[in-house]
């Protein structure tokens, strides 16, 4: 692995255009200006623009986690009473997973305002952004939940029923806690992905978030280093997040194996 990485780096460094590449994409001078802003050009510093992405992601994620759960639970039922909602949610999940986020963003930002519906047509860019992210990611996350619940062995349902738990108690105390443990890693995976997809919101929203700030920088200085800054900023959040996920899982495992020593 390390050798492979080294080889790739070597190819870049030894390539005929290495110097031009470094000057265009990894220029420390322009990276610094892009990140911290430049008073003389009145350009939004990228770290400030990035706060918009972070805020969007931080608000969207809990909503996604919350709203996906009932979707998953209803889709997992078999009762004929819920056949209608189940069918509706299946259509939603298929649709939201099948349509690229960028199309949803375009439809919402350019479509909703001209609909002329009192509440829906007059929301802020942030609320529209939230809607797009929650709409798309809710479908993905509900499928993750659903897989988690289904991976809890049937014997656990029997055991829960055997001690007189009602169906709701069974979900709350037996199924969901076990399913959540199983889905922590895929959920963090989706969280990382959502965090990156906040960049797509900028395409519809008329605000300067990270990607747009990078484009403006590029346009002013004719240098692409601002894109590298955007990449580094995303990495600065995503990499620690995946580390945290690994740590969480390791801790959970250790706690379960060390019960007797406490």
């Amino acid at each position: 692995m390390a050798v492979l990485f080294f080889l790739v780096v070597l190819i870049f460094v030894l390539s005929p255009g290495a110097r031009v590449f470094a000057h265009t994409f990894l220029n420390p001078h322009y990276m610094k200006i892009a990140l911290l802003g430049d008073p003389s050009h009145n350009i939004t510093p990228m770290w400030q623009a990035f706060l918009k992405n972070v805020l969007l992601c931080v608000v969207a994620e809990p909503l996604v986690l919350l709203l996906a759960l009932p979707v998953a639970l209803v889709r997992n039922t078999k009762s004929p009473l819920l056949a209608g909602p189940r069918a509706a949610l299946t259509v939603y999940v298929d649709f939201a997973r099948g349509v690229p986020l960028i199309l949803v963003v375009l439809a919402v930002y350019f479509g909703f305002p001209i609909l002329g519906i009192p509440f829906i047509s007059s929301r802020t860019w942030f609320q529209y952004g939230l809607f797009c992210l929650v709409f798309c990611y809710g479908a993905y996350v509900s499928e993750v939940y659903r897989a988690g619940v289904q991976s809890v062995p049937f014997s656990q349902f029997l055991a829960g029923r055997a001690i007189g738990l009602s169906e709701l108690q069974l979900l709350r105390f037996v199924t969901i806690p076990q399913a959540l443990r199983i889905v922590v890693a895929p959920l963090i995976n989706d969280f990382v992905s959502l965090q990156k997809d906040t960049a797509i919101i900028g395409i519809g929203a008329g605000v300067i978030e990270l990607l747009k700030a990078a484009q403006i920088n590029q346009g002013v200085f004719f240098n692409d280093s601002s894109y590298a800054v955007a990449g580094l900023l995303f990495l600065s959040i995503c990499v620690p997040l995946t580390r945290v996920a690994d740590r969480l899982q390791a801790n959970d495992m250790r706690a379960r194996l060390a019960g007797s020593q406490s």
Binding site: G160, R161, A162, I163, S166, Q178, L257, G259, S260
Partner: protein, 250 residues
């Protein structure tokens, strides 16, 4: 006197597959009824019908004289009175031993956390598992897990206990500790209906032995009759096969 449990002409089918074919039996107070029979003879299904984990297809089940057949009878209420222990323990892996035992009383019976824990600790103490209270199930041996599973059922103060081949998944060396616990329960007067492959144990502890084949009761009676001098040739054949297998494996 009303029986603890009375089954009348119980049938159960899964699609075209008739698993129970007109089973009638009674469990009286302080009685231990042992179901024996080959795998697939319907023992587990019979037990699961008794506490409505599986709905019976036809026939009646009554518990202390109350018919469980009506639509208004809720399975979870029945299961608060009738405990069941499974072959594969089925402890909750995400909860400690103590939490496994207190979950039923706390959530289903609404007993306070304090009272439920005190009782669970008493049970653990009484059956020599006190130092395992804060362990997670995967730290326990199979025998210990199965004993915890029995205590989890006992914590509900059941009026009848169903045991579904509770030693079949255990290492032979761990079977004794589980059977000893069951013996102790039998001695304390807990009515039990159990499916078992342990013929020796059935002879020791059962008041009645029931031999099932293909979902029907072939023969039932006191162990010294059914197990020692069976009247039906099918029972005799089963016991011979069983004893032959036991000697080769033991």
């Amino acid at each position: 006197m009303t029986a603890v449990l009375e089954l009348n002409n119980l049938t159960k089918s899964f699609g075209d597959n008739l698993v129970l074919d007109g089973v009638s039996l009674r469990v009286e107070a302080h009685e231990v009824v042992c179901l024996i029979g080959a795998s697939g003879s319907g023992k587990s299904t019979l037990l699961r019908c008794c506490n409505l984990l599986e709905p019976a297809t036809s026939g009646t089940i009554s518990l202390f004289g109350v018919d469980l057949g009506g639509d208004e009878v809720r399975g979870e209420l029945v299961r608060r009175e009738v405990g069941i222990v499974f072959q594969s323990f089925n402890l909750f892996p995400h909860r400690t031993v103590l939490d496994n035992i207190t979950m039923g009383p706390r959530r289903a019976l609404k007993v306070s956390k304090h009272a439920a824990e005190r009782k669970a600790l008493e049970l653990l103490e009484r059956f020599g598992l006190a130092e395992k209270a804060n362990d997670f199930p995967d730290r326990l041996s199979g025998g210990q897990q199965q004993r915890v599973a029995i205590l989890r059922a006992l914590a509900m103060d059941p009026r009848l206990l169903l045991l579904d081949e509770i030693t079949s998944a255990l290492d032979p060396a761990l079977v004794a500790e589980v059977l000893d616990l069951v013996r102790e329960l039998a001695a304390s007067g807990m009515p039990m209906l159990l499916a078992t492959h342990e013929i020796e144990f059935a002879r020791d502890v059962a008041t009645t032995v029931v031999f099932l084949e293909a979902g029907r009761i072939v023969e039932s009676g006191p162990p010294r009759e059914v197990l020692v001098a069976p009247r039906d040739p099918r029972t005799a054949a089963f016991l011979r096969r069983y004893l032959a297998g036991d000697e080769t494996s033991g």
